[in-house]
Amino acid sequence: MNRRKFLIASGAAIGGTYAGLKLERQPPIPDGPVGSSAVSILRARSYSEDLVSRMLEGIRQCGLDVRGKRVLLKPNLVEFDSATVINTDSAVIVAALETFRSLGAAEVKIGEGPGHRRDTWDLADDARYRATVPRFESLFTDLNRDDVSPVSNFAGESQFYFPNTVLGADLIVSLAKMKTHHWAGATLSMKNFFGVVPGAVYGWPKNKLHYIGIAESVVALNRRFRNTFAIVDGIVAMEGNGPIQGTPKPAGVLVMGRDLVAVDATCCRIMRIDPEKIDYLRMAADLGHIHPARIEQRGETVASVQTTFALLEEYKHLRLA
């Protein structure tokens, strides 16, 4: 029994926000699904550019049909700090709202359940969501405090609770922020799903996920919610001590796709992080494609937009060779 197995067996895996262990493991990456996945990389150097046309182009390139669907936009809303780049920029949300409406979605809502801060509405206010998203108050749901329903057999739990707004969506669009992360290495479209777990049931932070395991939870959430699409906000990203205390990193891209594993693997390569060294991506390899040969890159090439993100000393081993 290695140290990790001992940890799990002992029931002491505190995990996550304050007890991740300095342990390494490298199981072989399982084969991905049959075929390949399209990932679109589109340049956008600032939030004042025409983001709607870029999103329309990315969605077309990835072959997503949203007609008649109930769409839930899930931004990454984390912290009161409008001067930095912690949260998904409001311009990305406004553009996504317009994009999905114009493509014939039956309804487009916005929902988020921040992991640490409880005052979601004022957080959205501070991030200028209320000021910039038309009719925001009628569109937004605090997923931490939404009505909930049980779901069977999630991540080994006989019963797990999710917000009804999430369970009722036909398509969940992960409007993630491209950031480094001091527990997961990187936080992109897949980890953004932590925000669909209700704090009113699991707390602030959602400590149950830490016990399941951060990587394991990311994978389980993405296994549970398969009707998804990703639009990663890398226009001004975050490097260094992310996801909160890092520094702005202009990467000038939006990265989109239906295969969130492939989207996150592509984002990692743009950040010059090796996706095969990110635990959750290794564990999610049966859900999507990590290997570049199985990812159909649309729009820009990775090489043309690649930029080195600063990493904490503890994560230097993640650097893409």
Partner: protein, 293 residues
Amino acid sequence: MYLESRLQFLRDSQNADGGWGYFPGKQSWLEPTAYAMLALYGQSAAETAVDRAWRLVASWQVADGSVRPNGAIADGTWVTALFVTLACVRGVQDRNTARAVDWLLRVVGAEHSLAMRAFSYFHLLKTKLNVSHEGWPWREGNASWIEPTSLTLLALKKVARGHGLPELAYRVREGEALVLSRRCSDGGWNCGNPNVFNYDLPSYPESTAQALIGLQGRSANELAAPLAAARRFRSQTKSSLAKAWLAIALRCHHEALDAPTEEARSCDEMLAALEALAHPDGNWRLLAEEGRA
């Protein structure tokens, strides 16, 4: 007007089952129900409403003594502390209250396990967390955090007024020690993790307020820096929730604060209840300590 507008909103938004949701027309949850009950407590116009809410909350207790956070959820959580606080405020000292207290005394944050203490001893954690003290988690089997620990301290200190249980006194001491050990370098508290990879993490205003509520009775000297942080936060925070918690905490620590004047602009029922509690003429004293273990 400030206080009455919130109380009227609460009176108008009670669900048919007797509880309050986080937002109007939504499922009843124990957390907003508890704060609404405290905000309305003692008001003759709301007496029936509060009694109905208590019956609903009491019906959510499960076999192990814990209390469920809402009727759709199978197992009990940290909100058991709020149930005990409500019971103490209402003067209910029955078997069900005792079962809830027993559950709180039985539950310990999982980071205190022998294995985790061993990992901490050998510096195998990413954090500088002191895992030697016993606090309370959001859910049984998880780690301790500031909010559930602080609110459980409040509940147990109210219980301690009428009981001399040595186990209760021990858990209060341990809980206070845990909270004190997790203070951030800037003087306040965040959710419960002050440092990662040798980087100090910032404190949060609402967590700082809750910790101060849990630490009522500790010496003014010991709490000087956190109280200063709370005062600073109160003048700076953009969070309405944090402002309400900070006002309650500072009043509980005998600080005179001006009455707020902002009009309610939210349909958040829990926020309305906390803002009502935080008003100088509100029921904030119900969250003040009453006796020490």
